[in-house]
């Protein structure tokens, strides 16, 4: 693998971790979030500040970063108790714009210049870069997917599914929507924080623009394309949307246009996602992988 491919694959893996987190919020608990890049950014900035200003190593900082992003996720998840669906979508967009504005305009966060000089991750005195970093990122992705898989088997996700399908019905059964919505927000934003931390240490330089609203749209598009609420959907969606811009690269000027057009067509004709129920891919692959029922 040459450096070009390694970089692209690493970025895809890092994004897949964030999209896994989004899947817990949107796919499992049914709470729309269009501000996921804000939490990705909070993780990245927390990691960068801990590493550059407090001198923490990646490993020492990681639990802190995850706690910080989960905690802020808890705080910003509070609106989801009060507002629903369309209101929640716009509220999360607003959160993204405000968080980005804070990063861009408060000098403590480096302002418009961003934060640089973030050290590489040390693993037993080996400086992780290139393929070594890729392997580390893949390990974290596997952990996140295991957590997602475990969630689908647990009581918490059953409660989340119930809230997603019908909140009032779920609450008559004694499932507290408040508790499980916040639970989903904390798990999802903690994964975004982890992803942001990896991103900061990989890029070694971050600025507010890396966590702007279009990035959130990208995350949600990846999730919707792959298939919300499925285990492999986030990964597949991220791979497809991560590779497409590279495939279109020879087209130079028309690249972004084709990308958005393709996104539009996929949403229009395959809105359930590639792995969602009734999708083309699922029907074609069903005899190979899924035996019997739907799941």
């Amino acid at each position: 693998m040459n450096a070009y491919v390694t970089t692209i694959v690493t970025v895809i893996v890092i994004q897949a971790i964030a999209v896994c987190g989004l899947n817990v919020i949107v796919g499992y608990a049914g709470q729309i979030s269009l501000g996921h890049a804000a939490f990705f950014g909070i993780g990245a900035y927390a990691a960068a500040l801990l590493a550059t200003k407090a001198g923490f190593s990646f490993w020492l900082g990681l639990p802190l970063v995850i706690c910080i992003s989960g905690l802020i996720g808890l705080l910003l998840g509070l609106p989801s108790i009060r507002v629903r669906e369309d209101f929640l979508a716009i509220t999360t967009i607003g959160i993204n714009f405000i968080v980005e504005a804070v990063f861009r305009y408060v000098p403590f966060f480096g302002g418009a210049l961003g934060l640089g000089g973030i050290p590489r991750i040390l693993f037993f005195d080996i400086r992780m870069k290139g393929q070594a970093f890729l392997i580390l990122a893949i390990c974290f992705l596997v952990i996140c997917m295991l957590v997602s898989w475990w969630l689908t088997k647990s009581w918490a996700s059953l409660a989340c599914y119930a809230i997603r399908e019908d909140e009032s019905a779920a609450s008559t059964l004694g499932i507290s929507p408040v508790r499980f919505k916040l639970f989903a927000f904390v798990v999802g934003t903690a994964m975004a924080g982890l992803s942001g931390s990896l991103y900061a240490h990989y890029m070694q330089f971050i600025s507010a623009g890396d966590f702007s609203f279009p990035v959130s749209v990208g995350f949600l598009s990846m999730l919707v394309l792959g298939g919300m609420g499925t285990l492999w959907g986030p990964l597949i969606g991220t791979i497809i949307l991560g590779i497409l811009p590279e495939v279109f690269r020879p087209l130079v000027d028309y690249r972004v246009f084709l990308y958005t057009l393709l996104l539009l067509l996929m949403i229009r004709f395959q809105p359930g996602g590639l792995l969602g129920e009734g999708s083309v891919a699922r029907r074609a692959l069903a005899p190979l992988f899924f035996r019997g029922g739907k799941r």
């Binding site: 949107v26 009060r82 507002v83 509220t91 405000i98 504005a101 749209v217 972004v256 809105p271």
Partner: protein
């Protein structure tokens, strides 16, 4: 004091423009329950169409009419091709589709018209007015008069005609309206025509007032108007207008007087989150 009045006049003009764009969004949300982010792309198309027609014919009236017609057609195509087939999916599926439309139209505008800022060398036929020492320039006056006219026509249509009655019925309860013999898909189409034509007017007005037309001119309005329809109460047209005017004035006055460290574009969202926490159905919204 004079500076204050001038700021206020600018703020009202700003708010009027927000109102013209937000109106379409509120109307569409009313009948379809869809967040029509691509509306800002329609507004961009309106500005470009107006500019080209003006350049070709030299007539502002033709530019307005032609651009309104083009935008109405674009709005209907978006509704027919994208929103209507996606209505049975959760609301964020059409929302993502809408964002994709916004981005692709911006890109298309960049590819067709070039990435640079075009000037709009037109002057609206309005005089300069003087209120004491304060001057109301012809550009400002044009924005006030045209906005007031649009609002009046819209008010007349929705409250004094049978079409308006049907529109209000469809936005309150589409299935029941359908049972009463109202063609609700027809109403949706008409709503898109009206909203998109108003967006065209807004696009041309902005183009002339700032003397700028560029591919990404819709980006900031696209998301700011979302905050505005929430503050006004989703689907409430008067609420959207009040919220737009208030934001326009708040933005210009706060930037002029208070030294807040945040950019003005974040203000709409801060106001929105504040309003939501206090009154989760918006200023004039009804709790559904």
């Amino acid at each position: 004091m004079q500076l204050f009045f001038e700021q206020l006049l600018n703020g009202i003009a700003m708010g009027s423009i927000y109102a013209l764009v937000t109106l379409g969004l509120a109307l569409v949300y009313g009948v379809m329950r869809i967040l029509h982010v691509a509306h800002a792309a329609v507004y961009t198309i309106g500005a470009y169409a107006g500019l080209y027609i003006f350049g070709a014919t030299g007539s502002l009236a033709l530019a307005f009419l032609g651009s309104m017609a083009i935008c109405a057609a674009v709005g209907v195509v978006i509704e027919r091709f994208l929103y209507f087939p996606l209505l049975r999916y959760p609301p964020f599926v059409p929302l993502i589709g809408s964002i994709a439309v916004l981005l692709s139209i911006e890109e298309a505008a960049r590819l067709v018209a070039g990435p640079y800022i075009l000037t709009f060398p037109a002057r609206l036929p309005f005089p300069n007015l003087y209120l004491g020492a304060t001057q109301i320039s012809s550009g400002l006056l044009a924005i006030y008069v045209i906005t007031a006219l649009v609002l009046f026509v819209l008010w007349y249509i929705t409250t004094r005609t049978e079409l308006g009655l049907a529109m209000r019925a469809a936005s309150q309860d589409a299935p029941i309206a359908g049972a009463m013999g109202i063609n609700s898909h027809g109403i949706i189409t008409i709503t898109f025509i009206i909203g998109s034509a108003i967006a065209a007017i807004a696009g041309i007005l902005v183009g002339i007032y700032y003397n700028q037309v560029y591919p990404t001119m819709g980006t900031v309005p696209a998301y700011k108007t979302l905050a505005l329809i929430v503050v006004g109460g989703l689907g409430s047209v008067p609420g959207a207008v009040i919220a737009s005017l208030a934001l326009g004035m708040a933005e210009t006055l706060l930037i002029g007087y208070a030294n807040i460290p945040l950019p003005r574009d974040a203000l709409a969202f801060i106001a929105m989150i504040g309003v939501l926490m206090w009154r989760s159905e918006g200023l004039l919204g009804s709790s559904r």
